[in-house]
């Protein structure tokens, strides 16, 4: 052998003078396993025990398909709205100075702090036909509460901070000199935004979009009040899980949950691929 003497070989961990590795890692793993991993694998085990035919019958059920379509469709729309307005909000908060900016900035986190049930009844009251916003939209023929549009409104509320808080720090780091360089080279403001600024922000915008989307797909509390919950029309997948549970139909609840989890992970995977691609594409 012409290699240097190998003293260590494969090591689970690097040596360190700091004590407590076994204790803290052991406790963390035990807690993680008991609270998260065992219960989640119970779900996987139960859906695997269903068998393919039963699983397929539940998945292909029209009501299940519609609920999944509504959950993913409204979450997608809401995430798109949040990308547009969330990026604008982040831009205004980062670039402009105006009285009340601190308060506006702090307000962005409200959806993280406000319990979803509270958001749900508040939004429903606002957008109901006799509500403050609902009665303004009524003459225009727009109904929000108790329609799929209401679901989108609730998910816009829930998802906004995910986009703003992902895009904002990246915007703060943009080097002004890059913009100035582009300007001296003759680029106008529009070109600078689309060709210089946007590519740098794209990965953050995609991350914000996917976080808002993922959260929207699983959201329950704020949606069930405003949705109207009509099967095939405005019934979201998490609600259908709850309905199946209340019917003691554990199989159906498990199968829908497994489909939702699988789709969410698939989506995260796709987003990761897109991000890797956009980093390569835009450096």
């Amino acid at each position: 052998m012409n290699t240097a003497p190998v003293k260590t070989g494969w090591r689970f961990r690097q040596p360190s003078v700091i004590p407590g590795f076994g204790l803290t890692l052991g406790f963390s793993l035990a807690y993680l396993t008991l609270i998260i991993l065992i219960p989640l694998s119970g779900l996987v085990w139960r859906s695997a025990a269903l068998g393919w035919a039963d699983f397929w019958a539940i998945a292909a059920d029209r009501r299940t398909l519609n609920a999944l379509k509504i959950s993913f469709g409204t979450a997608f729309l809401a995430a798109v709205v949040n990308v547009v307005f969330g990026t604008a909000v982040a831009w205004v908060l980062v670039r402009y100075r105006f009285p009340g900016r601190r308060i506006a900035d702090a307000m962005v986190d409200l959806p993280f702090a406000l319990p979803t049930a509270v958001a749900g009844i508040a939004l429903t009251t606002l957008y109901a036909p006799n509500g403050w916003i609902g009665q303004l939209l009524m003459p225009l023929g727009i109904k929000v509460a108790y329609t799929p549009l209401g679901i989108v409104v609730a998910l816009v509320f829930i998802g906004l901070p995910f986009v703003v808080r992902t895009v904002q720090p990246i915007m703060e780091e943009i080097d002004k000199e890059v913009e100035e360089a582009a300007a001296t080279l003759g680029a106008n403001r529009f070109q600078i935004i689309t060709r210089v600024l946007f590519p740098g922000l794209a990965p953050a915008i995609i991350t914000g979009f996917s976080l808002a989307f993922a959260r929207g797909v699983g959201e329950y509390g704020s949606v069930i009040f405003i949705a109207g919950n009509l099967p095939f029309k405005s019934e979201i997948a998490p609600l259908l899980i709850v309905i199946r549970l209340e019917e003691y139909n554990y199989e159906a609840a498990t199968a829908i949950a497994a489909i939702m989890l699988a789709l969410s992970f698939l989506m995260l995977l796709v987003v990761n691929l897109v991000q890797t691609w956009s980093r390569k594409r835009y450096g």
């Binding site: 090591r11 690097q14 700091i18 407590g20 803290t24 963390s28 807690y31 993680l32 609270i35 998260i36 991993l37 219960p39 989640l40 119970g42 779900l43 139960r46 307005f85 604008a88 909000v89 831009w91 205004v92 402009y96 009285p99 601190r102 506006a104 702090a106 307000m107 962005v108 986190d109 702090a113 406000l114 319990p115 979803t116 509270v118 009844i121 508040a122 939004l123 009251t125 606002l126 403050w132 509320f157 992902t166 913009e179 300007a183 403001r189 600078i192 993922a214 797909v217 699983g218 959201e219 329950y220 509390g221 009040f225 998490p238 899980i241 709850v242 554990y250 949950a257 989890l261 992970f265």
Partner: protein, 294 residues
């Protein structure tokens, strides 16, 4: 706002060509759109909560809050938070110590697993415990034979709450402790401190504001969780109804004042959380550092 640095930045850019900043009208339009969006989507819902709670006067408001069912919902919410938040704090500190202070195989994977509850729907977080502890569940028969009640009782609510608030403290502390490195602890140890002393007198003071930040967010979610708790609670009035669940029941009974009165307490909690969070970020921004978000 009186920051001199910011002012000079502004002045500097006022004098620049239009290519490095938007023109005044564009600025005004952008600001109007962004602020109107925030007002409609964030401010109005908050205002409507207090408006509806006080719609029938202060008397009806206090009366709604003093009903026995509401009181027991408040007590249960406080109890659940008082159990689940400290447990997640112990886990968060322990996981951050193992992950930030040591290099070991599978660290990235472990960090990913800790974030897992964030990508699971709250309803599914509750469902997994029903599948485990329910009558038809894997452990259902065994629990029944031993007379242990978890589901549709306080232990189930606590477990579901721990599940959804699991990552908050850990994900706040891990990047913070990684950034601070091991130097301080190594110095303390070399001067003869025990491992426990190094943690208590060196590490903990270093991360205290970050820890408080994590606890704040963890607590807000623990007290406000709806979906997961709704699945495991069984909705027994006066016994297994937390405040958010009680809001739902009152609202569905068309008791708007009652529902919004309880909701106003939760909204108050949210406002206090936001104010403390903002103060922490202003004062100790550098010490909380790294990851912002949820």
């Amino acid at each position: 706002m009186a920051d001199p640095e910011i002012k000079s930045y502004e002045l500097h850019h006022e004098s620049q060509s239009a290519a490095v900043t938007e023109s005044r009208p564009v600025k005004a339009v952008l600001m109007a759109i962004a602020l109107a969006f925030l007002a409609v989507f964030l401010l109005l819902p908050l205002i409507v909560v207090f408006h509806e709670a006080l719609a029938k006067g202060i008397g009806a408001y206090t009366e709604a809050l003093s009903s026995p069912d509401t009181r027991s919902a408040i007590r249960l919410t406080l109890l659940v938070a008082a159990i689940s938040v400290p447990l997640n704090v112990i886990f968060g500190i322990s996981a951050a110590w193992a992950i930030a202070k040591f290099e070991f195989k599978g660290k990235a994977f472990l960090t990913t697993l800790i974030d897992l509850p964030f990508s699971v729907s709250p309803v599914i977080s509750g469902l997994v415990y029903v599948l485990l502890f329910g009558a038809q569940g894997l452990l259902g028969a065994w629990l029944k034979a031993h007379g242990i009640v978890i589901l549709f009782a306080v232990p189930g609510i606590v477990l579901a709450t721990i599940f959804v608030t699991f990552p908050f403290v850990a994900r706040e502390l891990i990047p913070l402790m990684q950034e601070q490195g091991n130097g301080d602890e190594e110095a303390a140890l070399s001067l003869g401190a025990s491992g426990w002393q190094a943690f208590w007198y060196v590490t903990l003071p270093n991360v205290k504001w970050g820890l408080l930040y994590g606890v704040l967010l963890c607590n807000a979610r623990a007290m406000g969780e709806f979906g997961a708790v709704s699945v495991v609670s069984g909705h027994i009035r006066g016994l297994t109804n937390t405040m958010p669940l009680h809001v739902e029941i009152l609202y569905n009974e068309y008791n708007a004042v009652g529902a919004f009165a309880v909701a106003s307490l939760l909204a108050g909690l949210a406002l206090v959380t936001l104010v403390l969070k903002t103060l922490l970020e202003m004062r100790y921004g550098a010490e909380i550092a790294a990851t912002r978000g949820h």
